[in-house]
Protein backbone atom coordinates (compact mmCIF):
# COMPACT_ATOMS: atom_id res chain seq x y z
CA UNK A 1 0.00 0.00 0.00
CA UNK A 2 2.62 2.46 1.09
CA UNK A 3 5.42 2.54 -1.40
CA UNK A 4 7.86 4.62 0.61
CA UNK A 5 10.47 2.43 2.27
CA UNK A 6 10.94 3.37 5.88
CA UNK A 7 14.36 3.14 7.53
CA UNK A 8 15.02 0.19 9.77
CA UNK A 9 13.80 0.46 13.32
CA UNK A 10 16.71 0.06 15.70
CA UNK A 11 16.72 -0.62 19.40
CA UNK A 12 18.07 2.85 20.07
CA UNK A 13 15.19 4.36 18.17
CA UNK A 14 12.65 2.39 20.17
CA UNK A 15 14.29 3.36 23.46
CA UNK A 16 14.32 7.01 22.47
CA UNK A 17 10.69 6.68 21.46
CA UNK A 18 9.81 5.08 24.78
CA UNK A 19 11.51 7.85 26.72
CA UNK A 20 9.79 10.40 24.52
CA UNK A 21 6.38 8.87 25.18
CA UNK A 22 7.04 8.67 28.91
CA UNK A 23 8.23 12.25 29.16
CA UNK A 24 5.72 13.90 26.87
CA UNK A 25 2.64 11.94 27.83
CA UNK A 26 3.23 12.27 31.55
CA UNK A 27 3.74 15.99 31.05
CA UNK A 28 0.56 16.17 28.97
CA UNK A 29 -1.26 14.06 31.55
CA UNK A 30 -0.21 16.50 34.23
CA UNK A 31 -1.13 19.40 31.99
CA UNK A 32 -4.46 17.69 31.37
CA UNK A 33 -5.43 18.28 34.97
CA UNK A 34 -4.87 21.99 34.43
CA UNK A 35 -6.87 21.94 31.20
CA UNK A 36 -9.64 20.02 32.89
CA UNK A 37 -9.89 22.45 35.77
CA UNK A 38 -9.79 25.41 33.45
CA UNK A 39 -12.38 24.12 30.98
CA UNK A 40 -14.74 22.94 33.71
CA UNK A 41 -14.38 26.31 35.38
CA UNK A 42 -15.21 28.16 32.18
CA UNK A 43 -18.24 25.99 31.58
CA UNK A 44 -19.47 26.91 35.02
CA UNK A 45 -18.54 30.55 34.46
CA UNK A 46 -15.71 30.48 36.95
CA UNK A 47 -12.10 31.44 36.41
CA UNK A 48 -10.28 28.29 37.44
CA UNK A 49 -6.68 28.27 38.62
CA UNK A 50 -5.01 31.56 37.80
CA UNK A 51 -2.67 32.64 40.56
CA UNK A 52 0.37 30.44 39.86
CA UNK A 53 2.06 31.85 36.82
CA UNK A 54 0.34 33.55 33.90
CA UNK A 55 -3.24 32.30 33.64
CA UNK A 56 -2.35 29.75 36.29
CA UNK A 57 -0.19 27.83 33.85
CA UNK A 58 2.32 26.91 36.52
CA UNK A 59 -0.41 25.32 38.62
CA UNK A 60 0.89 22.07 37.20
CA UNK A 61 4.30 22.66 38.79
CA UNK A 62 2.73 23.68 42.07
CA UNK A 63 0.58 20.56 42.13
CA UNK A 64 3.58 18.44 41.25
CA UNK A 65 5.65 19.90 44.06
CA UNK A 66 2.78 19.37 46.44
CA UNK A 67 2.29 15.75 45.39
CA UNK A 68 5.99 14.97 45.57
CA UNK A 69 6.54 16.48 48.97
CA UNK A 70 3.39 15.19 50.60
CA UNK A 71 3.70 12.52 53.23
CA UNK A 72 3.29 9.05 51.81
CA UNK A 73 0.79 7.51 54.19
CA UNK A 74 0.19 3.79 54.28
CA UNK A 75 -2.69 2.85 56.54
CA UNK A 76 -1.90 0.65 59.50
CA UNK A 77 -4.03 -2.33 58.57
CA UNK A 78 -3.51 -2.11 54.85
CA UNK A 79 -1.73 -4.78 52.89
CA UNK A 80 1.42 -2.75 52.45
CA UNK A 81 3.02 -4.38 49.43
CA UNK A 82 -0.15 -4.49 47.35
CA UNK A 83 -1.04 -1.00 48.50
CA UNK A 84 2.29 0.24 47.20
CA UNK A 85 2.17 -1.70 43.93
CA UNK A 86 -1.38 -0.78 42.88
CA UNK A 87 -0.79 2.78 41.63
CA UNK A 88 2.29 1.62 39.76
CA UNK A 89 0.13 -0.89 37.89
CA UNK A 90 -2.25 1.83 36.75
CA UNK A 91 0.47 4.17 35.56
CA UNK A 92 2.61 1.43 34.00
CA UNK A 93 -0.17 -0.24 32.03
CA UNK A 94 -1.35 3.11 30.74
CA UNK A 95 2.10 3.77 29.31
CA UNK A 96 2.59 0.21 28.05
CA UNK A 97 -0.68 0.58 26.17
CA UNK A 98 0.74 3.70 24.55
CA UNK A 99 3.66 1.64 23.24
CA UNK A 100 1.47 0.15 20.52
CA UNK A 101 -0.24 3.41 19.64
CA UNK A 102 1.01 5.82 17.00
CA UNK A 103 1.67 8.94 19.01
CA UNK A 104 4.00 11.33 17.20
CA UNK A 105 5.08 11.35 13.57
CA UNK A 106 8.26 9.43 12.83
CA UNK A 107 11.49 11.37 12.40
CA UNK A 108 15.22 10.83 12.18
CA UNK A 109 17.57 12.42 14.68
CA UNK A 110 19.94 14.38 12.44
CA UNK A 111 23.54 13.81 13.55
CA UNK A 112 23.51 10.35 15.10
CA UNK A 113 21.18 9.14 12.34
CA UNK A 114 18.75 7.25 14.57
CA UNK A 115 15.32 6.63 13.14
CA UNK A 116 12.59 7.13 15.71
CA UNK A 117 9.42 5.34 14.62
CA UNK A 118 5.91 6.60 15.05
CA UNK A 119 4.91 3.52 17.02
CA UNK A 120 7.28 2.23 19.67
CA UNK A 121 6.29 -1.38 19.12
CA UNK A 122 4.37 -2.07 15.94
CA UNK A 123 2.61 -5.30 16.90
CA UNK A 124 0.24 -6.33 14.16
CA UNK A 125 -2.58 -6.73 16.67
CA UNK A 126 -2.18 -3.20 17.96
CA UNK A 127 -5.79 -2.51 18.86
CA UNK A 128 -6.24 -5.71 20.81
CA UNK A 129 -2.96 -5.11 22.61
CA UNK A 130 -4.03 -1.64 23.68
CA UNK A 131 -7.40 -2.88 24.85
CA UNK A 132 -5.81 -5.77 26.71
CA UNK A 133 -3.32 -3.51 28.41
CA UNK A 134 -6.00 -1.08 29.43
CA UNK A 135 -7.98 -4.00 30.79
CA UNK A 136 -4.94 -5.07 32.80
CA UNK A 137 -4.76 -1.52 34.09
CA UNK A 138 -7.99 -2.17 35.94
CA UNK A 139 -5.93 -4.10 38.47
CA UNK A 140 -4.73 -0.80 39.85
CA UNK A 141 -8.12 0.31 41.22
CA UNK A 142 -9.11 -3.25 42.01
CA UNK A 143 -6.09 -4.05 44.16
CA UNK A 144 -5.89 -0.57 45.61
CA UNK A 145 -9.42 -0.81 46.87
CA UNK A 146 -8.96 -4.25 48.33
CA UNK A 147 -5.58 -3.59 49.91
CA UNK A 148 -6.45 -0.51 51.92
CA UNK A 149 -8.93 -2.15 54.32
CA UNK A 150 -11.34 0.71 53.91
CA UNK A 151 -15.01 0.24 53.23
CA UNK A 152 -15.09 2.94 50.57
CA UNK A 153 -12.12 1.32 48.93
CA UNK A 154 -13.85 -2.05 48.87
CA UNK A 155 -16.95 -0.51 47.33
CA UNK A 156 -14.75 1.26 44.81
CA UNK A 157 -13.01 -1.92 43.78
CA UNK A 158 -16.29 -3.83 43.62
CA UNK A 159 -17.55 -1.15 41.28
CA UNK A 160 -14.34 -1.48 39.28
CA UNK A 161 -15.05 -5.15 38.72
CA UNK A 162 -18.68 -4.50 37.85
CA UNK A 163 -17.87 -1.69 35.48
CA UNK A 164 -15.06 -3.62 33.88
CA UNK A 165 -17.20 -6.67 33.19
CA UNK A 166 -19.90 -4.45 31.74
CA UNK A 167 -18.03 -2.27 29.29
CA UNK A 168 -15.31 -4.67 28.15
CA UNK A 169 -17.79 -6.63 26.03
CA UNK A 170 -19.07 -3.47 24.40
CA UNK A 171 -15.58 -2.17 23.67
CA UNK A 172 -14.57 -5.36 21.93
CA UNK A 173 -17.79 -5.78 19.97
CA UNK A 174 -17.97 -2.17 18.88
CA UNK A 175 -14.41 -2.31 17.53
CA UNK A 176 -15.10 -5.61 15.84
CA UNK A 177 -17.17 -4.08 13.04
CA UNK A 178 -14.45 -1.65 11.83
CA UNK A 179 -11.88 -4.41 12.29
CA UNK A 180 -13.97 -6.59 9.96
CA UNK A 181 -14.12 -3.83 7.39
CA UNK A 182 -10.40 -3.13 7.47
CA UNK A 183 -9.44 -6.75 7.88
CA UNK A 184 -6.55 -6.02 10.17
CA UNK A 185 -5.80 -5.23 13.79
CA UNK A 186 -2.95 -2.86 13.09
CA UNK A 187 -3.31 0.86 13.56
CA UNK A 188 -1.29 1.52 10.44
CA UNK A 189 -3.73 -0.47 8.32
CA UNK A 190 -6.62 1.45 9.82
CA UNK A 191 -4.90 4.67 8.91
CA UNK A 192 -4.17 3.54 5.36
CA UNK A 193 -7.73 2.29 4.90
CA UNK A 194 -9.00 5.82 5.44
CA UNK A 195 -6.33 7.53 3.34
CA UNK A 196 -8.89 8.27 0.61
CA UNK A 197 -10.51 10.82 2.88
CA UNK A 198 -13.63 8.90 3.90
CA UNK A 199 -13.56 8.37 7.59
CA UNK A 200 -14.73 5.10 9.02
CA UNK A 201 -17.23 6.91 11.19
CA UNK A 202 -19.27 7.45 8.06
CA UNK A 203 -19.69 3.70 7.60
CA UNK A 204 -19.81 2.83 11.28
CA UNK A 205 -21.59 5.58 13.21
CA UNK A 206 -23.17 3.13 15.65
CA UNK A 207 -19.85 1.48 16.41
CA UNK A 208 -18.29 4.90 16.95
CA UNK A 209 -20.91 5.93 19.48
CA UNK A 210 -20.71 2.58 21.24
CA UNK A 211 -16.95 2.82 21.38
CA UNK A 212 -17.12 6.32 22.81
CA UNK A 213 -19.51 5.21 25.54
CA UNK A 214 -17.39 2.19 26.39
CA UNK A 215 -14.23 4.28 26.24
CA UNK A 216 -15.64 6.72 28.74
CA UNK A 217 -16.44 3.80 31.00
CA UNK A 218 -12.92 2.50 30.49
CA UNK A 219 -11.28 5.75 31.54
CA UNK A 220 -13.74 6.39 34.39
CA UNK A 221 -14.87 9.63 32.87
CA UNK A 222 -17.91 11.35 34.15
CA UNK A 223 -21.04 9.65 32.96
CA UNK A 224 -19.49 6.49 34.36
CA UNK A 225 -17.15 7.67 37.11
CA UNK A 226 -18.48 5.17 39.59
CA UNK A 227 -15.11 4.12 40.95
CA UNK A 228 -14.32 7.26 42.82
CA UNK A 229 -17.51 9.19 42.80
CA UNK A 230 -17.02 11.69 45.59
CA UNK A 231 -20.66 12.25 46.32
CA UNK A 232 -21.30 8.60 46.99
CA UNK A 233 -18.20 6.76 48.13
CA UNK A 234 -15.86 9.48 49.41
CA UNK A 235 -13.13 8.75 46.91
CA UNK A 236 -13.59 5.10 46.17
CA UNK A 237 -10.38 3.24 45.56
CA UNK A 238 -8.16 6.28 46.19
CA UNK A 239 -9.63 7.09 49.59
CA UNK A 240 -6.52 6.17 51.54
CA UNK A 241 -3.96 7.35 49.03
CA UNK A 242 -1.97 10.50 49.23
CA UNK A 243 1.00 12.15 47.61
CA UNK A 244 2.69 10.65 44.60
CA UNK A 245 0.88 7.33 44.79
CA UNK A 246 -2.38 9.20 44.36
CA UNK A 247 -0.76 11.18 41.58
CA UNK A 248 0.21 8.03 39.74
CA UNK A 249 -3.41 6.95 39.55
CA UNK A 250 -4.22 10.21 37.90
CA UNK A 251 -1.32 10.20 35.51
CA UNK A 252 -2.56 6.76 34.48
CA UNK A 253 -6.10 7.99 34.09
CA UNK A 254 -5.12 10.93 31.91
CA UNK A 255 -2.77 8.80 29.85
CA UNK A 256 -5.70 6.45 29.27
CA UNK A 257 -7.82 9.38 28.18
CA UNK A 258 -5.20 10.24 25.59
CA UNK A 259 -5.04 6.61 24.48
CA UNK A 260 -8.81 6.46 23.99
CA UNK A 261 -8.56 9.70 22.05
CA UNK A 262 -5.86 8.21 19.82
CA UNK A 263 -7.83 5.03 19.19
CA UNK A 264 -10.99 6.96 18.39
CA UNK A 265 -9.21 9.27 16.00
CA UNK A 266 -7.15 6.58 14.26
CA UNK A 267 -9.86 3.96 13.99
CA UNK A 268 -12.89 6.12 13.31
CA UNK A 269 -11.85 9.66 12.50
CA UNK A 270 -9.38 9.28 9.67
CA UNK A 271 -6.14 8.84 11.56
CA UNK A 272 -3.13 10.93 10.63
CA UNK A 273 -3.98 11.35 6.98
CA UNK A 274 -3.73 14.76 5.43
CA UNK A 275 -7.03 16.51 5.17
CA UNK A 276 -7.59 19.37 2.76
CA UNK A 277 -4.77 21.81 3.52
CA UNK A 278 -3.98 20.51 6.97
CA UNK A 279 -1.00 18.18 7.35
CA UNK A 280 -1.48 14.83 9.05
CA UNK A 281 0.26 15.61 12.32
CA UNK A 282 -1.92 18.65 12.83
CA UNK A 283 -5.03 16.61 12.07
CA UNK A 284 -4.21 13.87 14.58
CA UNK A 285 -3.25 16.41 17.24
CA UNK A 286 -6.46 18.30 16.63
CA UNK A 287 -8.55 15.17 16.82
CA UNK A 288 -6.91 13.99 20.04
CA UNK A 289 -7.27 17.44 21.54
CA UNK A 290 -10.92 17.60 20.57
CA UNK A 291 -11.58 14.16 21.99
CA UNK A 292 -9.92 15.26 25.25
CA UNK A 293 -12.00 18.42 25.25
CA UNK A 294 -15.13 16.42 24.56
CA UNK A 295 -14.47 14.33 27.65
CA UNK A 296 -14.30 17.49 29.76
CA UNK A 297 -17.32 18.91 27.98
CA UNK A 298 -19.34 15.82 28.76
CA UNK A 299 -18.20 15.99 32.35
CA UNK A 300 -19.47 19.55 32.63
CA UNK A 301 -22.77 18.80 30.95
CA UNK A 302 -24.01 15.38 31.93
CA UNK A 303 -24.83 13.75 35.24
CA UNK A 304 -23.36 10.40 36.08
CA UNK A 305 -25.20 7.10 36.15
CA UNK A 306 -25.66 4.60 38.92
CA UNK A 307 -23.76 1.29 38.81
CA UNK A 308 -26.93 -0.67 38.12
CA UNK A 309 -27.82 1.72 35.32
CA UNK A 310 -24.38 1.23 33.83
CA UNK A 311 -24.77 -2.55 33.88
CA UNK A 312 -28.25 -2.26 32.47
CA UNK A 313 -27.03 0.06 29.74
CA UNK A 314 -24.06 -2.09 28.79
CA UNK A 315 -25.68 -5.50 28.88
CA UNK A 316 -29.21 -4.78 27.76
CA UNK A 317 -28.76 -1.91 25.31
CA UNK A 318 -25.24 -1.49 24.07
CA UNK A 319 -24.25 -5.12 23.73
CA UNK A 320 -27.29 -6.10 21.58
CA UNK A 321 -26.74 -2.97 19.51
CA UNK A 322 -23.09 -3.89 19.02
CA UNK A 323 -23.97 -7.46 18.05
CA UNK A 324 -26.61 -6.25 15.59
CA UNK A 325 -24.08 -3.82 14.18
CA UNK A 326 -21.52 -6.58 13.71
CA UNK A 327 -24.08 -8.85 12.05
CA UNK A 328 -25.28 -6.14 9.68
CA UNK A 329 -21.69 -5.24 8.81
CA UNK A 330 -21.00 -8.89 8.07
CA UNK A 331 -24.06 -9.23 5.85
CA UNK A 332 -23.25 -6.06 3.94
CA UNK A 333 -19.66 -7.20 3.45
CA UNK A 334 -20.82 -10.59 2.21
CA UNK A 335 -23.25 -9.06 -0.29
CA UNK A 336 -21.07 -6.18 -1.36
Amino acid sequence: MDATILPEVTAAGVIIKAILILAVISAIAGFGTYIERKVLAFMQRRLGPQHVGPYGLLQLAADGIKLFTKEDIIPQHANKIIFMIAPIITAATAFIALAAVPVFPDFTIPFVDVYVPSIASDVNVGILFVLGMMAAGLYGPLLAGMAQSNKWGIIGSARTAVQFLSYEVVTGLSLLAPIMMVGSLSFVDFNNYQSDGTWLVVYQPVAFILFLIAGYAETNRTPFDLLEHEAEIVSGYVTEYSGMRWGMFFIGEYANMITIGVIASVVFLGGYNDFWIFPGWLMILGKIAFSFFFMLWVRAAWPHVRPDQLMWLCWKVLMPLAVINVVITGIVMMIG
Binding site: V123, A135, L143, M146, A147, F164
Partner: protein, 187 residues
Protein backbone atom coordinates in the same frame (compact mmCIF):
# COMPACT_ATOMS: atom_id res chain seq x y z
CA UNK B 1 18.36 -11.14 23.42
CA UNK B 2 15.50 -13.61 23.13
CA UNK B 3 17.17 -15.99 25.54
CA UNK B 4 17.48 -13.25 28.15
CA UNK B 5 13.85 -12.34 27.71
CA UNK B 6 12.81 -15.97 27.89
CA UNK B 7 14.66 -16.58 31.13
CA UNK B 8 13.35 -13.38 32.66
CA UNK B 9 9.79 -14.39 31.78
CA UNK B 10 10.33 -17.99 32.86
CA UNK B 11 11.85 -17.18 36.24
CA UNK B 12 9.30 -14.53 37.04
CA UNK B 13 6.42 -16.80 35.98
CA UNK B 14 7.67 -19.60 38.21
CA UNK B 15 8.20 -17.27 41.16
CA UNK B 16 4.83 -15.62 40.72
CA UNK B 17 2.89 -18.85 40.45
CA UNK B 18 4.91 -20.13 43.41
CA UNK B 19 3.63 -17.19 45.41
CA UNK B 20 0.13 -17.96 44.18
CA UNK B 21 0.36 -21.52 45.46
CA UNK B 22 2.21 -20.86 48.69
CA UNK B 23 0.93 -17.55 49.95
CA UNK B 24 -1.68 -17.56 52.65
CA UNK B 25 -2.89 -14.11 51.77
CA UNK B 26 -5.68 -13.88 49.24
CA UNK B 27 -4.49 -10.57 47.87
CA UNK B 28 -0.94 -11.78 47.29
CA UNK B 29 -2.18 -14.93 45.60
CA UNK B 30 -4.53 -13.03 43.33
CA UNK B 31 -2.02 -10.37 42.38
CA UNK B 32 0.72 -12.85 41.63
CA UNK B 33 -1.67 -15.01 39.61
CA UNK B 34 -2.60 -12.02 37.47
CA UNK B 35 1.03 -10.98 37.07
CA UNK B 36 1.93 -14.55 36.15
CA UNK B 37 -0.72 -14.51 33.43
CA UNK B 38 0.85 -11.35 32.04
CA UNK B 39 4.23 -13.05 32.05
CA UNK B 40 2.80 -16.04 30.16
CA UNK B 41 1.46 -13.72 27.51
CA UNK B 42 5.05 -12.51 27.26
CA UNK B 43 6.00 -16.00 26.03
CA UNK B 44 3.47 -15.76 23.24
CA UNK B 45 4.90 -12.43 22.18
CA UNK B 46 8.39 -13.93 22.22
CA UNK B 47 7.25 -16.74 19.96
CA UNK B 48 5.75 -14.28 17.52
CA UNK B 49 2.19 -15.27 18.33
CA UNK B 50 1.00 -11.77 18.98
CA UNK B 51 -2.65 -12.61 18.64
CA UNK B 52 -2.56 -15.42 21.17
CA UNK B 53 -0.56 -13.24 23.53
CA UNK B 54 -3.13 -10.52 23.37
CA UNK B 55 -5.95 -13.00 23.79
CA UNK B 56 -4.17 -14.34 26.86
CA UNK B 57 -3.95 -10.81 28.16
CA UNK B 58 -7.57 -9.94 27.53
CA UNK B 59 -9.17 -13.22 28.53
CA UNK B 60 -7.09 -14.37 31.46
CA UNK B 61 -5.74 -11.15 32.88
CA UNK B 62 -8.85 -9.20 32.11
CA UNK B 63 -12.10 -11.05 32.30
CA UNK B 64 -11.36 -14.19 34.26
CA UNK B 65 -9.24 -12.51 36.88
CA UNK B 66 -11.76 -9.76 37.37
CA UNK B 67 -14.31 -12.46 38.14
CA UNK B 68 -11.91 -14.09 40.60
CA UNK B 69 -11.28 -10.85 42.35
CA UNK B 70 -14.97 -10.10 42.45
CA UNK B 71 -15.48 -13.36 44.28
CA UNK B 72 -12.58 -12.63 46.59
CA UNK B 73 -14.06 -9.33 47.57
CA UNK B 74 -16.34 -11.24 49.90
CA UNK B 75 -13.35 -12.35 51.97
CA UNK B 76 -11.43 -10.15 54.31
CA UNK B 77 -8.48 -9.56 52.07
CA UNK B 78 -6.23 -8.27 54.81
CA UNK B 79 -6.29 -11.45 56.89
CA UNK B 80 -4.35 -14.60 56.26
CA UNK B 81 -6.23 -17.75 55.43
CA UNK B 82 -5.85 -20.71 57.74
CA UNK B 83 -5.69 -23.81 55.64
CA UNK B 84 -6.81 -27.13 56.99
CA UNK B 85 -4.19 -29.81 56.72
CA UNK B 86 -5.85 -33.06 57.63
CA UNK B 87 -3.17 -35.43 56.51
CA UNK B 88 -0.11 -33.60 55.17
CA UNK B 89 1.67 -36.79 54.20
CA UNK B 90 -1.21 -37.92 51.99
CA UNK B 91 -1.50 -34.50 50.39
CA UNK B 92 2.20 -34.48 49.70
CA UNK B 93 2.09 -37.97 48.23
CA UNK B 94 -0.89 -37.31 45.97
CA UNK B 95 0.41 -33.93 44.86
CA UNK B 96 3.82 -35.36 44.12
CA UNK B 97 2.34 -38.21 42.11
CA UNK B 98 0.17 -35.82 40.11
CA UNK B 99 3.16 -33.64 39.35
CA UNK B 100 5.17 -36.64 38.30
CA UNK B 101 2.42 -37.87 35.99
CA UNK B 102 2.14 -34.45 34.38
CA UNK B 103 5.89 -34.22 33.87
CA UNK B 104 5.92 -37.66 32.26
CA UNK B 105 2.96 -36.85 30.01
CA UNK B 106 4.41 -33.61 28.77
CA UNK B 107 8.00 -34.77 28.46
CA UNK B 108 7.15 -37.99 26.60
CA UNK B 109 6.97 -36.33 23.16
CA UNK B 110 10.25 -34.55 23.81
CA UNK B 111 11.92 -37.84 24.71
CA UNK B 112 10.38 -39.50 21.69
CA UNK B 113 11.67 -36.58 19.60
CA UNK B 114 8.59 -36.61 17.45
CA UNK B 115 7.36 -33.17 18.41
CA UNK B 116 6.79 -30.91 15.49
CA UNK B 117 4.71 -27.86 14.81
CA UNK B 118 1.49 -28.94 13.16
CA UNK B 119 0.66 -25.48 11.97
CA UNK B 120 3.89 -23.57 11.46
CA UNK B 121 3.77 -19.87 10.87
CA UNK B 122 3.07 -19.11 7.25
CA UNK B 123 4.65 -16.03 5.80
CA UNK B 124 2.27 -13.38 4.64
CA UNK B 125 -0.58 -14.61 6.82
CA UNK B 126 -1.13 -12.73 10.01
CA UNK B 127 -1.54 -14.31 13.38
CA UNK B 128 -5.22 -13.68 13.63
CA UNK B 129 -5.85 -15.17 10.20
CA UNK B 130 -3.82 -18.30 11.01
CA UNK B 131 -5.74 -18.87 14.22
CA UNK B 132 -8.99 -18.30 12.39
CA UNK B 133 -8.14 -20.78 9.64
CA UNK B 134 -7.31 -23.54 12.10
CA UNK B 135 -10.30 -22.73 14.24
CA UNK B 136 -12.80 -22.84 11.43
CA UNK B 137 -11.43 -25.85 9.54
CA UNK B 138 -9.89 -28.52 11.69
CA UNK B 139 -11.24 -27.52 15.06
CA UNK B 140 -14.66 -26.40 13.92
CA UNK B 141 -16.57 -29.08 15.83
CA UNK B 142 -14.83 -28.55 19.19
CA UNK B 143 -15.21 -24.82 18.67
CA UNK B 144 -18.94 -25.10 18.12
CA UNK B 145 -19.32 -27.55 20.97
CA UNK B 146 -17.51 -25.14 23.25
CA UNK B 147 -19.82 -22.40 22.09
CA UNK B 148 -22.88 -24.52 22.87
CA UNK B 149 -21.42 -25.36 26.27
CA UNK B 150 -20.96 -21.68 27.02
CA UNK B 151 -24.52 -21.04 25.91
CA UNK B 152 -25.78 -23.76 28.23
CA UNK B 153 -23.77 -22.32 31.08
CA UNK B 154 -25.13 -18.87 30.35
CA UNK B 155 -28.73 -20.05 30.32
CA UNK B 156 -28.17 -21.95 33.54
CA UNK B 157 -26.67 -18.87 35.13
CA UNK B 158 -29.58 -16.74 34.03
CA UNK B 159 -32.08 -19.24 35.40
CA UNK B 160 -30.22 -19.46 38.71
CA UNK B 161 -30.01 -15.72 39.11
CA UNK B 162 -33.15 -14.76 37.29
CA UNK B 163 -35.91 -15.58 39.75
CA UNK B 164 -36.44 -11.96 40.64
CA UNK B 165 -35.12 -10.38 37.52
CA UNK B 166 -38.41 -8.80 36.54
CA UNK B 167 -38.27 -6.73 39.70
CA UNK B 168 -35.99 -3.77 39.58
CA UNK B 169 -33.61 -3.36 42.47
CA UNK B 170 -33.67 0.38 42.55
CA UNK B 171 -36.86 1.77 41.15
CA UNK B 172 -39.17 0.23 43.68
CA UNK B 173 -42.71 0.57 42.46
CA UNK B 174 -44.94 1.31 45.38
CA UNK B 175 -48.07 -0.75 44.80
CA UNK B 176 -50.53 1.38 46.65
CA UNK B 177 -49.83 4.98 47.01
CA UNK B 178 -51.29 5.74 50.43
CA UNK B 179 -51.94 9.40 50.23
CA UNK B 180 -51.35 11.69 53.08
CA UNK B 181 -54.52 12.11 55.07
CA UNK B 182 -54.04 15.82 55.29
CA UNK B 183 -53.60 15.96 51.55
CA UNK B 184 -56.80 14.05 51.12
CA UNK B 185 -58.68 16.31 53.44
CA UNK B 186 -57.50 19.42 51.74
CA UNK B 187 -58.99 18.34 48.45
Amino acid sequence: MEAIAFYVFAISTVILFGITALSKNVLYAMTSLAAGMVMISGFFFLLGADFLGVVQLIVYVGAVMALYSFAMMFFDATKDIKEKHGNPALVFLLGGLMALVFVVIFSAPIIGENMEALYPIVDGVGNAQAVGMVLFTKYLVPFEVAAIMLLVAMIAGIILAGKKMDKSLTTTVIEENPEDEILKESR
